[in-house]
């Protein structure tokens, strides 16, 4: 199986010098417009969503910050998570996929009209979602499916169009092989359509804790079958491309793919260890959480071995360092997740701020960093406009130090919280002891937020210089 794919042997070097990006890639103007619009809107949602996160984080330290119903903690928290999930991460991933899939299929995107329609549907959905959540209308407080179905149906519609668009593009590809990135990307879209349908359909989750069985499944498939495979698929393209060499082992990528699909699907209920849902589901979830070591090790091993020997490229590139950080965080959070699933450790960490550290290390350190790597690796080459070097560096370091300052104290604090409960101390003890760690979170969060402002500025700087100039370029 170790044969080189047609796509990878193709000589299309992307320059990796930090100073210059080199040639603009020859892509149709329509495609640049669509991709850049997705990126720009996702940057907007990133700034908005983390502004909300920042504000919500401050409330742990100053609970009396305001007393306006629309800004209260319980209403803003789902705004924070949903905006970042469906506004920022999802749309940024789709932007990159709209480039990678046609590129590796060596043809144009099947339909730009469908692409624009998806963009519209998704953003309207997120916008209405935000308003309804702030009004206090939510879907039963079920994490990540808080947006009520009439509004979320718009998002799902957008996603179905994306999947159809990508499927048609792949089906009519100009190469015989389907590159591994496309396995991951289209699979993620299909899985998420199924998953969202199961999450919102009635019938089997009406009374009692049947809802909780579906919630465990949904919560983890959301991160495990949407964000994870999507960014992994993108990385299977961007990493070799930016390093200008093939992926270390194609078949390892295939192995990781199938094990990801089988193992990850089974582990949802590890969010409800010790809960009253059937004990066997919890045990299955824990066993497969250990099984996740296989795809995670295969995936990260593959990426790291691809990087081996090319470290100088990292020093010279401004996108590769993001990818390196993302890959390392992928390994860390996944092994950390396996530990959290064991009953003995779950006892200490469940319900504490340790989970918050895990979610941010994964959604931020892993998913967001890989996305940024892709955006900085791609957009300047599409539009021909580069972001200022210094600003990209500032984004990188603020975001990296920020997430460490955010998550390490929360891991320590979360552990102390759990130990305090085990020791049987009074509950307020566990609230009071968190104060310093929540202050650190606010500091780390501020750095992260600043880095997002810089990112938004960089996106602005990467905008297509002028549409006319571009037209000339692509016509010549």
């Amino acid at each position: 199986m170790e044969k080189k794919s047609a796509v990878l042997s193709e000589q299309r070097p992307l320059t990796v010098e930090k100073s210059k990006v080199g040639e603009r890639i020859d892509t149709s103007l329509e495609s640049i417009r669509l991709i850049f619009s997705f990126v720009a809107l996702s940057a907007f949602w990133l700034v908005f969503g983390t502004l909300v996160g920042e504000y919500v984080g401050f409330k742990f330290v100053w609970p009396e910050l305001d007393s306006v119903s629309w800004l209260s903690f319980g209403r803003l928290r789902p705004v924070h998570t949903n905006v970042l999930f469906w506004g920022f991460l999802s749309q940024a991933m789709i932007a990159l996929a709209l480039y990678v899939v046609p590129r590796t299929s060596q043809r144009e995107l099947y339909s730009y009209r469908l692409g624009w329609t998806s963009l519209g549907l998704m953003n309207i959905s997120v916008l209405f979602g935000v308003i309804s959540l702030m009004m206090g209308i939510n879907n039963g407080g079920q994490e990540y499916r808080e947006i009520i179905w009439p509004i979320f149906a718009l998002f799902a519609g957008g996603l179905i169009l994306v999947a159809y668009n990508l499927y048609k593009t792949i089906a009519d590809r100009k190469v015989t092989e389907i590159y591994i990135s496309n396995w991951y990307i289209l699979a993620a879209c299909l899985w998420t359509i199924i998953l969202v349908s199961i999450a919102y359909l009635p019938g089997y989750q009406k009374d009692g804790i049947s809802q909780t069985v579906i919630q465990g499944y949904y919560m983890h498939q959301g991160v495990g079958q949407w964000f994870t495979p999507m960014v992994l698929g993108l990385t299977y393209y961007f990493l070799p491309k930016l390093l200008n060499k093939p992926i270390y082992s194609y078949s390892l990528g295939v192995l990781a793919f199938w094990t990801q699909m089988i193992f990850y699907t089974m582990i949802g209920s590890h969010h409800f260890v010790f809960s009253p849902i059937p004990w066997w589901i919890q045990t299955v979830a824990i066993v497969f959480s250990v099984g996740m070591i296989v795809p995670v090790t295969a995936g990260t091993g593959n990426f790291l071995l691809t990087m081996k020997g090319s470290w100088r490229s990292f020093a010279r590139s401004y996108s590769l360092p993001f990818i390196l950080v993302g890959v390392i965080f992928y390994a860390i959070v996944s092994y950390q997740g396996t530990l959290e699933a064991f009953r003995s450790l779950n006892k200490v960490w469940h319900f504490t701020n340790f989970t918050i550290a895990h979610s941010h290390m994964s959604m931020y350190g892993f998913v967001a960093f890989l996305i940024w790597g892709g955006i900085y690796g791609l957009i300047p080459r599409l539009t021909g406009s580069e972001p200022p070097q210094l600003a990209v560096g500032a984004h990188f370091w603020l975001a990296l130090i920020g997430i460490l300052v955010y998550s390490i104290p929360l891991m320590i604090g979360g552990t102390l919280q759990g130990l305090s409960w085990i020791a049987g101390e009074s509950f307020m003890e566990s609230v009071n002891l968190m104060t310093p760690y929540w202050v650190w979170r606010a500091i780390g969060g501020t750095m992260m937020f600043l880095s997002h402002l810089i990112f938004a500025y960089n996106v602005w700087k990467m905008r297509p210089s002028t549409w006319e100039k571009l037209t000339q370029v692509s016509q010549s």
Partner: protein
């Protein structure tokens, strides 16, 4: 078309699509269906009333679930939240309306206390109103948000309205604080959160047994200060000074500093309501601790009160508590016989 995942997109994506549906059915949809079919409310539980359902909706809409679990795990560290939760505890929760799905009350984070049994632990509506209007008025170090929009300020409230009196520092500058319908519903819901016995309908026998079991397992550490802060401080405050007009101060309180501990023990065992203390009326109520605290624990918390904040009264033992319990039980039986 060949059987080759790398070349045949129909085969590849077909497998991905149907394979995932198959796995999802096994791990989520079928178990959920099964759980739903087995959904039996506990025999001793009551259906939710209309106002409680409204309260649950406010609870969900305001996002209380992000800080509060309703899920007691079958492990030792969760014992002070109640007995382990069972599927039947949630059986009466169902879909609210066509727009919104079944509320997720189990929660995933415990920034605030577990609420499975809060109706038992904190029965006083007055406390809940004050706490919702501003949690810091009753729990100084609380980080819980205030919910002032569940209240209105009125010049002259009608007689059928719930007036909430706040301590001076927290009261609105002028006019009276009145709970809205939403606040009333929410508090009704919170008060309804009481764990019912698992199998038999509520009977004193099973209650005694469970409380004995609990006291057996809690023997390990009996520390008056932490019993106080878990059970009493929310009303009487950690400094013992209470909340003006609602919960009395225990500092220098005549009952607490009395040489004869009988009234002190009785107050803790049976609770109190509407008894003026040193000429002042208190709007709060105090629940009985007869079932929840063992003799040793009652003695420990009473001794804590008797020796803290400048109080200096003689301490008592578990035997004193047992004696009061037994005497009162005897009196009750003779009273019934007569």
């Amino acid at each position: 078309m060949k059987f080759d995942f790398h070349k045949n997109h129909k085969l590849l994506f077909g497998t991905i699509f149907w394979g995932f549906i198959f796995l999802s059915l096994i791990i989520s949809v079928l178990p959920a269906l099964w759980v739903q079919r087995e959904n039996e409310p506990l025999p001793a539980s009551e259906p939710m009333t209309d106002i409680e359902r409204k309260g649950l909706n406010v609870f969900i809409g305001e996002g209380c679930v992000y800080c509060h679990t309703q899920q007691v795990r079958p492990i030792e560290m969760d014992e002070n939240w109640g007995r382990p939760s069972a599927p039947g505890d949630y059986a009466r929760i169902d879909r609210q309306d066509i727009w919104r799905q079944t509320p997720a009350v189990l929660g995933s984070e415990r920034t605030g206390p577990d609420l499975s049994n809060v109706g038992e632990r904190q029965p006083s509506a007055v406390w809940h109103y004050m706490h919702l209007y501003n949690p810091r008025s009753v729990v100084e170090e609380s980080i819980m948000p205030s919910y002032p929009w569940l209240f209105e300020v009125k010049k002259s409230p009608g007689s059928d309205e719930t007036v909430v009196s706040m301590p001076e520092d927290y009261a609105p500058e002028q006019g009276q604080l009145v709970a809205t319908e939403k606040a009333e519903a929410l508090v009704a819901y919170l008060q309804s959160l009481k764990q019912v016995p698992m199998d038999a309908p509520a009977s004193s026998v099973s209650n005694e047994e469970t409380s004995k079991e609990i006291s057996e397992s809690q023997k390990k550490t009996i520390d008056g200060a932490s019993i106080y802060s878990n059970n009493c401080a929310s009303c009487h405050q950690n400094n013992g000074e209470g909340v003006q007009g609602a919960f009395p101060s225990l500092v220098g309180d005549p009952v607490v500093t009395d040489e004869d501990p009988t009234d002190h023990i009785r107050a803790v065992l049976y609770g109190m309501q509407g008894v003026p203390i040193e000429g002042e009326n208190y709007s709060g109520i105090m629940q009985p601790f007869e079932q929840t605290l063992s003799d040793e624990e009652v003695a420990a918390v009473i001794n804590h009160e008797r020796t803290s904040w400048g109080n200096d009264a003689p301490t008592i033992t578990a035997e004193d508590v047992a004696e009061v319990r037994n005497n009162d039980e005897l009196n009750e039986i003779t009273a019934e016989e007569e």
